[in-house]
């Protein structure tokens, strides 16, 4: 059994609901998905018990009716565990993970600015990466967002050409 397979087996043994929802994608890559309510216990278990001690980044996805969040964690031996959950797009509320991974702060602020995620429990700090005078409720990485300035996206450039 490979390291990756034993990690998957460990996760499924600990959390029965992960059966069929976590798998080896390829060597050194494990992907999994959970419900939002299950996320924190799997995330902290992976960090504390399975040595996924580095949070590489958090990736936000506009999935149409839902918004997905993938937490990409790595171990010293190069294995990456990508753990995902989705929330309704009209209520994109997630909890901060800064108490487990302090560097999550900047990744969560990025999700707030670019996708409109609402991160509960995040302390005060500067926004990132948009400017202070960026219009409220405009989230550039949402699929329905289009640049308003003429000539700033390819479709408009084509139309104006």
């Amino acid at each position: 059994m490979t390291h990756e397979e034993s990690i998957v087996q460990n996760l499924v043994g600990k959390f029965a609901y992960l059966a069929g929802r976590v798998q080896v994608q390829r060597v050194r890559r494990i992907i999994g998905s959970v419900d939002q309510g299950q996320f924190e216990e799997v995330f902290t278990y992976a960090q504390r018990e399975l040595q996924f001690s580095v949070l590489c980044t958090i990736t936000g996805l506009d999935e149409g009716p839902t918004m997905g969040f993938i937490y990409q964690m790595a171990r010293a031996d190069g294995i990456v565990f990508s753990l995902k959950f989705s929330v309704p797009k009209d209520k994109p509320v997630i909890q901060t993970m800064t108490r487990y991974f302090p560097p999550a702060d900047i990744y969560e602020r990025e999700l707030m600015d670019l996708l409109g995620a609402q991160v509960e429990g995040l302390g005060p700090g500067n926004r990132y990466p948009l400017p202070d005078d960026w219009p409220k409720d405009e989230y550039p990485l949402r699929k329905d967002w289009k640049a308003k300035t003429a000539g700033t996206n390819t479709e408009e450039i084509k139309q104006n050409a």
């Binding site: 390829r26 050194r28 890559r29 992907i31 001690s53 580095v54 949070l55 590489c56 980044t57 990736t59 936000g60 996805l61 506009d62 993938i70 990409q72 790595a74 010293a76 031996d77 190069g78 990456v80 990508s82 991974f101 302090p102 560097p103 702060d105 900047i106 990744y107 670019l114 700090g125 500067n126 926004r127 990132y128 990466p129 948009l130 400017p131 550039p140 990485l141 967002w145 640049a147 996206n153 390819t154 479709e155």
Partner: protein, 406 residues
């Protein structure tokens, strides 16, 4: 004494790029530090969703002038994984050679900047002169000093052969000799050692908890390097050491980068010897099947990660980039805790945040002529030599000596 909050930036003392820092001081002592990032945000992730995969290779490459190959490789690796492409081995070796050449130019650039930040401008002049050797090699191999355009989905666009190989070997010999000299300076020159030691301290524990990457982490004793931990390109076939140091300060970060330069020369020689014959690319489909991949790359500044999600069309559904500076910038406030304000530039510079390089062509407007003319890189270089010679400074002998070494 009352605390005073002063803004540093967006135009500021350590970087050529805009970032804004807020520094709380008690006298000259730093009590608190916070960063406001995002001044250089260009919406590249969104732009990638509106362009084809092939267009994105060139767009992604322009995230950073110094780490351009890092970003384009991380991106194409993810796309190739989703598409199930078997990239030819020769292409993987060429990517590795360009990657290490890029690391050499980045680390030599950093060494010069570090010298400049502590008032050791001779080091800046020496290292940036030597850096030209690797910039010329990159231009010879790829046609460009930065933004090489060497990667494509499925392989690389140019082979390395013939005289290019001997030119690289000669350049490695010269640069290795120069780097040995810099290592001697860094380990024997007391003023440099004293100025960098104990400055910008980041303990191993703090580096781990704050998620430091690259030379910043390795100088705090953390043997973490994506080339070794999660091998990509041809790194799995090369013999190299992960350079670490336990000084946990700017001095340690200097030693790590110089050690990595020596490893880079060795890796390039190995790669040139081991590089197998064969094709340099496979044909990639225009439309990439639905899927997702997470790609990691050890850029000169640390781990660069890209996530790509494909939806079956010729444009990606999502491209996510986490550059190494975003991971390391969070360590800076810890490094500056209870330090003197004068240490701020070198501490920030020591994580090696991103800068950009200049164009190869320059538009020159002659007041006597109406039409602007173009000046090639070689002409610009000669113009610089003549300009200094007119002022009584002649570099001819030095240039001849350097030319003979090459």
């Amino acid at each position: 004494m009352r605390n005073v909050v002063i803004p540093v930036g967006p135009q500021h003392p350590a970087l050529k790029e805009p970032e804004s820092f807020s520094v709380t001081l008690s006298g000259e002592r730093i009590m608190a530090f916070s960063a406001r990032l995002g001044y250089n945000h260009r919406g590249i992730e969104k732009a990638c969703e509106e362009r084809t995969y092939v267009q994105d290779v060139y767009l992604i490459e322009r995230i950073c002038g110094i780490c351009s190959h890092a970003h384009s490789t991380a991106f194409v690796q993810a796309v190739e994984e989703i598409a199930g492409l078997a990239v030819p081995e020769r292409a993987l070796y060429i990517r590795t050679i360009i990657a290490e050449l890029e690391r050499i130019h980045s680390h030599l650039l950093w060494l010069g900047v570090a010298g400049h930040e502590v008032g050791f401008d001779t080091l800046l002049m020496y290292t940036w002169r030597d850096r030209e050797i690797v910039m010329d090699i990159l231009a010879e191999l790829t046609g460009n000093r930065v933004n090489y355009g060497i990667n494509t989905i499925g392989g690389v666009r140019r082979d390395i052969a013939g005289a290019e190989i001997s030119d690289i070997m000669k350049a490695m010999d010269t640069l290795e000799e120069r780097t040995k000299y810099y290592i001697r300076v860094a380990t024997e020159e007391r003023t440099l050692i004293n100025r960098l030691s104990g400055v910008g301290v980041l303990s191993r524990e703090d580096a781990l908890s704050l998620g430091a990457v690259g030379p910043t982490a390795r100088a705090s004793g953390i043997a973490r390097d994506t080339r070794k931990d999660d091998p990509y390109a041809a790194y799995g076939a090369l013999d190299f050491k992960v350079i670490t140091d336990d000084h946990c300060d700017v001095y340690g970060r200097t030693l790590v980068r110089m050690g990595e330069l020596m490893e880079a020369y060795s890796m390039i020689r190995q790669a040139l010897k081991k590089m197998p014959d064969g094709p340099i690319a496979v044909k990639a489909p225009r439309k990439i099947p639905a899927g997702e991949a997470f790609s990691r790359y050890e850029a000169p500044r640390g781990e660069d990660v890209h996530y790509v999600k494909a939806n079956g069309t010729d444009k990606p559904e999502r491209v996510k980039v986490r550059a190494p500076t975003l991971a390391n910038i969070q360590c800076v406030s810890k490094m500056l805790e209870d330090r003197q304000l004068a240490d701020l530039p070198i501490v920030i510079a020591a994580i090696d945040p991103c800068f950009s390089c200049t164009d190869r062509l320059i538009s020159v407007k002659d007041a006597r002529k109406r039409a602007p003319s173009s000046m090639k890189w070689e002409d610009l270089r000669l113009y610089g030599i003549e300009w200094y010679r007119d002022k009584g400074i002649d570099f001819s002998k030095l240039n001849t000596r350097m030319g003979e070494r090459l």
